[in-house]
């Protein structure tokens, strides 16, 4: 099968972690990619500058959904300062796949929402 759909990605796509909503999140951010219709809403609870809970909701392709699921797992327990330093490489490492320019947009949509939420900036470049 295509290297894109490795086992871990399919697992996160079929059984997404942290999918849903938080009660009164501290940060909520919605982003979408109109070219393919991927949508994500990311919610975070923050205590002392550290992410204590994370959830996402949305729809989209396996890559964007797996990326969101993996990312929410990973960011819990991380400080906002650390997350501000995250780059596209961090997400690609999580996904563990090589990715072309079109699908890259899918893979990075959750990061884009995270960054924008954390920085409080709409439409920031990931």
């Amino acid at each position: 099968m295509d290297a894109l759909y490795r086992e871990a990605i399919l697992d996160h796509y079929k059984y997404p972690r942290h999918k849903g909503h938080l009660d009164s999140p501290d940060i909520t951010h919605f982003d979408h990619n109109p070219f393919c219709g991927d949508e994500i809403t990311l919610e975070l609870k923050i205590e002392d500058g550290v992410v204590t809970q994370a959830a996402f909701d949305g729809r989209g392709c396996a890559i964007s959904q797996a990326s969101a699921s993996m990312m929410t797992e990973e960011i819990i327990g991380k400080s906002l300062e650390e997350l501000k330093g995250w780059s596209k490489e961090d997400i690609l490492e999580l996904l563990g796949i090589e990715i072309g320019p079109v699908r890259l947009k899918c893979a990075l949509l959750p990061l884009k929402a995270l960054k924008a939420g954390v920085w409080g900036i709409e439409d920031a470049d990931a």
């Binding site: 099968m1 295509d2 894109l4 759909y5 399919l10 796509y13 079929k14 109109p34 070219f35 393919c36 219709g37 991927d38 949508e39 729809r59 989209g60 392709c61 396996a62 890559i63 079109v102 699908r103 899918c106």
Partner: protein, 407 residues
Amino acid sequence: MRSIEAIRADFPILQREINGAPLVYLDNAATSQKPLAVLRAMDDYYRLHNANVHRGVHTLSEEATALYEGARGRIARFINAPSSKQIIFTRNATEAVNLVAYSWGMATLKPGDEVLITQMEHHANVVPWQLITQRTGATLRYVPLDAQGTLRLDLLDTLLTERTKLFAFVAMSNVLGAINPTAELVARAHSVGALALVDGAQSVPHLPVDVQQLNCDFLVFSGHKMCGPTGSGVLYGRRDLLEAMPPFMGGGDMIREVRLEGSRWNTLPWKFEAGTPAIAEIIGLGAAVDYLADLGMDWVAQREHELVRAATERLSRVEGLRILGPGIEQRGGVVAFTLGEIHPHDIAAILDADGVAIRAGHHCAQPIHDFYGIPASARASFAFYNTFEEIDRLVLALDKVHAVLGM
């Protein structure tokens, strides 16, 4: 008729392997592949005749001009235009629509006037009209779709009124595959005194098109979708309209005289062709229409109809697959579909792993997808060089999508 194998041998790219499997190219509505005759026409031009056209007195320039203007004549005949003066070269169909919007639209439209388009238009036939109606204060209206993905022709009487100055619509949808009753729609536009612009980006490459029979005022199409090179497109227009329209872009070739105080325009078609044209590309497009004319557009349409009939039959048996658009009688060689909840990107990516190239997205037709309430669709689109075996490969690969992503 030559065999399909012989025809396929004209297209070098069809020999390619993708991820270890022979390429199955089913993205023809996005752009077609090019036969050797087209590549050779351009290569020969550059190796033997390349020079700037018009007004050059030396041999190369005369040769280049004869090749360039010769292509115009052959393209005119391909759509049965009364005169090659009515064939204006643009980069693509999109520029051709913009040319009409900027030149005719800006000079003509006033507040109270209406432009009518449809909900099945490609963005190329939406955005220019949004821009120009905003600028001029005119109003943009849409013919909506019915449940079959065809036009609500029952609403035309209400939508087409004496306020309508232009009815711009697609002859064949690049998503729904729907073939519209073009000549009838042109007549309806004319009956209220409106002009009719036909977006032929999908019809000219795939169906016989005769502008005199359609009686349309404008027709736009793209070379790259009809075996021709990128960078080539055409605006056909009614002669009196083109004569009366102000120029679009200014520059060399489109003028007759330039004085510091002002300029006089050149005659048709050059009035609308500013600067050095896409010479090699138009010569390539000339070779492409020769190639298509040799095959015969009736044969092309027939062959693609058989392909799409087989495809829709086989696809409709795939679990969870839903085809957008009308039944086979009204459909050209395009099948857009959804597959359960699986995102079209995932479908296309998994198909690609087996060498099957289809497109996923909104195909530059968001209003259609809004109508269906979906963000995107997968689309297989056919050309005469496709085969029934390739349809088998498509269906097999779709089974794999289920296997990989099915819950």
